[in-house]
Subunit: 459 residues, 2 copies
Amino acid sequence: MLPDRISSFINEHIETFTAELSQLLEIPSISTLSEHAPDVLRAAEWVFERLKKCGFTGKVYPTERHPIVLARSPEIPGAPVLLVYGHYDVQPPDPLDEWQTPPFSPDIRDGFIYARGASDDKGQFLTYIKAIESVLEVEGKLPINLIILGEGEEEIGSPSLETFLIAHHSELLADAVAISDGSQLAPGIPAITYGLRGLSYLQLDLKGPRFDLHSGMYGGILHNPAQVLADILQKLKNPDGTVAVPGFYDDVLPLEQWEREEMASAPFDIEALKNYVGVSELTGEPGYSVLERNSARPTLDINGLWGGFSGEGAKTIIPAKAGAKVSMRLVPNQVPGKIEELFTRFVTSLCPAGVSLSITGVHHAGPVLVKRNTPSMLAAERAIEAGFGKKPRFKREGGSIPVVNMIEKHLDQKNILLLGWGNPDDGVHSPNERLSLADFRRGILSAAALFYEMAASRR
Amino acid sequence: MLPDRISSFINEHIETFTAELSQLLEIPSISTLSEHAPDVLRAAEWVFERLKKCGFTGKVYPTERHPIVLARSPEIPGAPVLLVYGHYDVQPPDPLDEWQTPPFSPDIRDGFIYARGASDDKGQFLTYIKAIESVLEVEGKLPINLIILGEGEEEIGSPSLETFLIAHHSELLADAVAISDGSQLAPGIPAITYGLRGLSYLQLDLKGPRFDLHSGMYGGILHNPAQVLADILQKLKNPDGTVAVPGFYDDVLPLEQWEREEMASAPFDIEALKNYVGVSELTGEPGYSVLERNSARPTLDINGLWGGFSGEGAKTIIPAKAGAKVSMRLVPNQVPGKIEELFTRFVTSLCPAGVSLSITGVHHAGPVLVKRNTPSMLAAERAIEAGFGKKPRFKREGGSIPVVNMIEKHLDQKNILLLGWGNPDDGVHSPNERLSLADFRRGILSAAALFYEMAASRR
């Protein structure tokens, strides 16, 4: 159990912690834009400095793109080992003009801190560091062994992490892995995520004529790549919204009864959701609830498309090129490689002569399903109860965390605790991303409690 | 019939005429670049000076940007009136380093004069002035009444012309209008263009959620505007490539037998076309030839589309917005306003709840079809035979010429003679634009012949 004096310390110092979060959020560590590489490095060093001050050993490891932080607490023989993973890189902030305050000038209003990365994942990752500092400040030592693994490439699919996990395998063995890079079920309703969707993200590039052609002179005699693109994209979905790629659903594991009941009883306000995202009607796969659709059923989305003239006014051309980014969210037991093969075969069959098509895999991740009654899962359940004042619900999430797949695979680790401190309406990957300061505080409390609950579960 | 002594005079003075064309081509009258406004004015004055010397009355009219020249020959009561339209502004010459000789230092080599504007339209426009001078020099008077309308804004969409036509309506009434701002069918194969396609150019804007959403959290539960856009665009065309907008073909005038024969017998190399545009296969409306498809049949093209993320790598979003520019090439008797209404009704019916759609008209122009057997058309046919030594072919063109629509509409003029003296490979709007000196001479002969043929047709 988390000693009261630690909770008090955390509750009393939350303003200082928030100011430190602001510092980290000011660093525009956008991993996908190479000009921000120095910022990602700065964020890594910022994280490592704090751990060093806590007596952790380790280092900032360079990779081909953005550095990885690996740090370890002073050894407590016989105590359990908890590996904490988080990331300090962020998504690009565009469209910039939709931000109420600049994305890298954190602004506190109405109990939230607004900035790119506030919830995903700087704010959540930082709770562990603040928990460590708090425990050390109050108790002088930690109750368990901690390994902190911080990454700067999560938003670009963690290209260096896999090699790193293999190379540092022996330094990363742990009894459980904690990752806070998700959300509660709803504000005030904490949850443990036991399932994640996987992802296959692909890019389609279509080429027609050698150069943009005058649509008056050439309109009507050749395939327009933008039209071919639309035709292909339309055929990816059936009229009922299901995915039309042949074989797509073959390996999908049906939902279990308890899962459907947990989802059906979950407090979930569809009207609030519609209001939040600003649409009048939801839609989706027939026979499934909204929560099932966005967490436990596979889907396909166009993430972007382009081609020809998009400026003001008119340009009467047949574009030479068009393209799209398409991603599929996968569920157990779909396999990304197989899905990509099915997709590629299908899309290729839809492209007419006179237009050339290339399909490139951008990144992918397998789906995840974690057992619910392991000792570390039960410890996490108690820790959340301590931090949030109520038992967590169990949920599946619609997103992917590729690192979870890698940890599963390369560290042979099944005890993965996905403890989201954020909220579904934090606006991650969107303008005006935010984190509730109450959740930030509860996250720190829960992280500290997890150290003690894990220590207790071993005794 | 053109008196022999005039043909002889023209043939004997072609070097002097070419030197004068050089003078006009030296003026860098680039209408889109405001720093060249004095040059456009200089070109207008150059043109007007020559007409004044021929006894024409009129003036250089200032407009908000570039001046218009309107000049009229001394009245010959009872003789027909021919309005000649041309333009003395030019496209920018870039890329400059692709010019073999500087664009505003006319160079004569291998029987061509190379300079920006040589073909489009200074060289072609000047044929009428040289024809006037030649007739006056030899005969002392013109056989018909001539109105010369010169413009300095054609390359920027003629923004001032419409107002000018309305304001000077009564001074512009004529029996026919001659425009030489196009090309023959192929070198040595003169042609009269009797048809132009019209245009309806629209923009579609789709809005889904208020902002870009995380596709993991929201994928599968709401309409993705990029998907809805693809679905709509796909449904605009039938599988055979015809336009699927209900009612689209209702007013299409079928091709007449003579037209199909004319097109079928036109010298036209499909392999050369495929090679030039770089596609392995052509396609199009079943039952029509390539020439019919790109000039005399209506079509629909996506000119551009956009939505979501198009950068490097991956961004896992459901875009908040998506959009497209779509244009339809129209043929007689399709009416842009009606087509836009049909399009809007159809597209609106395809947009599901949860996504909002707006459709904006960007611009439009009606199709043009000039009757082939009017006295002025027959006069033009004979004039070209006199100038080029062979009968012209009759062709329809796939593009629109906005000034033709303005003249049709505001001068209520149906007798529009589109007499291109240039050639398809003159490189208009491209580096190394040129005009064949033989075509320049034949153009002058044809212009002079047209004056006499029109005079004769009235008798």
